[in-house]
Symmetry: C2
Subunit: 372 residues, 2 copies
Amino acid sequence: MGKSISGSDVYVLIMAGGSGTRLWPYSRVVRPKQFLDLLGTGKTLLQHTYDRMLSFVPSSQVMIVSHERYETWIKEQLPDLKEENILLEPHGRNTAPCIAYAAAKIHARAPHARMIVAPADHIIQGEDDFKDCIHLALEACQDGDRLITLGIKPSRPDTGYGYIQFLDDSPLTNQKGKSGDLKSVKTFAEKPSPELAKEFLSSGDFLWNAGIFVWKTDAILRAFQKHLPDLYDVFEEGKDLFYQEGEHAFIQKAYALIRSISVDYGILEKHAEVFVVRSEFGWSDLGSWNALYNLQKKDEDENVFLGCEAITYESRGNFVRCQAHKLVILDGMEDYFIGDFGDVLILCKRSEEARFRSYVSDAREKGGDKWV
Amino acid sequence: MGKSISGSDVYVLIMAGGSGTRLWPYSRVVRPKQFLDLLGTGKTLLQHTYDRMLSFVPSSQVMIVSHERYETWIKEQLPDLKEENILLEPHGRNTAPCIAYAAAKIHARAPHARMIVAPADHIIQGEDDFKDCIHLALEACQDGDRLITLGIKPSRPDTGYGYIQFLDDSPLTNQKGKSGDLKSVKTFAEKPSPELAKEFLSSGDFLWNAGIFVWKTDAILRAFQKHLPDLYDVFEEGKDLFYQEGEHAFIQKAYALIRSISVDYGILEKHAEVFVVRSEFGWSDLGSWNALYNLQKKDEDENVFLGCEAITYESRGNFVRCQAHKLVILDGMEDYFIGDFGDVLILCKRSEEARFRSYVSDAREKGGDKWV
């Protein structure tokens, strides 16, 4: 494992098109979480992801794919990025179409490229372990048409993640032996029930599906040709238009025809040579305020305060996130999430992740698009 | 009882100098509660009090006394008021000095005046009952040197108010017989213990001391001369300067010598002819957020929302007060006060009135004058 693995043939695709509601009211349709400084670090999640990827490739080899409505955020937050590296979709169509688009576009210029595909809105802690795992995957994908995914060793029976079951082989091992060894994938599992999640955890051969992929572009394109030929054909047909004036009009037309499908379901679950790098770096998809709370440093009463100063009395386990840097007084509050975001103030039990769907739909019913 | 009672000889003194902390963080030292729209009606408490008094007298006969730091608020909120009707004190010295000052100043122009004295920051509900009681007091004070105070029939054993015990006589009765009859005062009692408050309530001869007074100006001046002669002498000496250029300099000098003392303690508890109008209008000194909550119309779950829109889930008995008109989502909150005031957000149990002193002193310790 070493820096020599990364090289001029490696490209990065950051997927930045999501618009979830689970971190509402900070995350909004007009500015979803990847464009927000959720951690209160002064950088948005997209900026963190981009910076992380610059340890593998120069910025000229980083592509961002997103919905066209987010073009302004991307340009504002990544001013160094070249225009041609921003892939804009007129409609969100899940992960398979945007990966097919990016792979075809990269392949048009660099037929021997390898790709790292990563979501813009995840958190990674332990950058060195992460790098080791990516380097292992970049090496492993050179062999045949292997599609490599990163799987995180689960620390709890989380029901919010998809799982990957691996076989007890080791086609390739991280030479440092710390984090990361390669395993053949046996099966992919959707978000499990609490009981099933416990079984997954105790079995020892299930990993969280981190949605981070590594492969050769020609390998993934061949996989599209085989498993999703209609999608393959769309971008094959337009390949002469990439980097040209006609690309925008072509994409507008193409996306009208494309159905929504995930790369997991459309490709990985069907492909023969799928491998997982068993990884142990800190990872979260930030699927809820509670997930963000779990990642933060707590005060002596297990409270977390971001974007505010606080005075507390008999208050434990609360997570307060403010936008304006205000003073927060808490007295007699336990295990609450308190979010103050300009036009919306929310107070709920930290554990009630599932309720956010109702909050957002009820807020939409009351105020139209005003608050969502 | 009738409109004929009020007339050209009636003057009003509104006391607007307080700067309490019990309604922090909305109420601040630089803008205490009398200058705030606490009820969310679009009018401040001072404006409500002023408007109420205009049913007795023209604006030329309304005087406001306050600390000089609040001059701007007064002029902004009562633009019709003449400059000479604003009495500014360089230091707060409780109620006796400001009443002596105003009485002397009114007396210099209108030697046969009667005065209504009222705090700027109380709430009165049932304006007609209030008017009847004031008219009764205005009539009653014509006889001798009677000093009249308004006492509110208590509805609960409140430990936050002073009490007035009356004798079972009736020197004068409201002819309508509804609210208001005159009683001789037996004694004044400080804020009682919970046990004593219960005894006061069940005895039937105790009233809440509303701090609203009615008297002839020459009667109150004679009372000052007798019971607080040093204070009387100060303003007697300066009487030729009232309404003149020299008034400001005189007041600056005079207040340096004056001690802090309440009119209750300094005059009323010592005077022979003190009477109370037993009143039944709705009254509160707004001594806490909880007091304000009790006065508001509740939703079907006993929640009150001022200055915001709300969506609630399993939440009861909360009081939310916002400044910006934001959306508030409450889930699983019971009996909390939630106040959002720009730079300070507070969450505490509604009943914890006594804690506000700590909140303010702790906020001062943390941020100096920034938040208080």
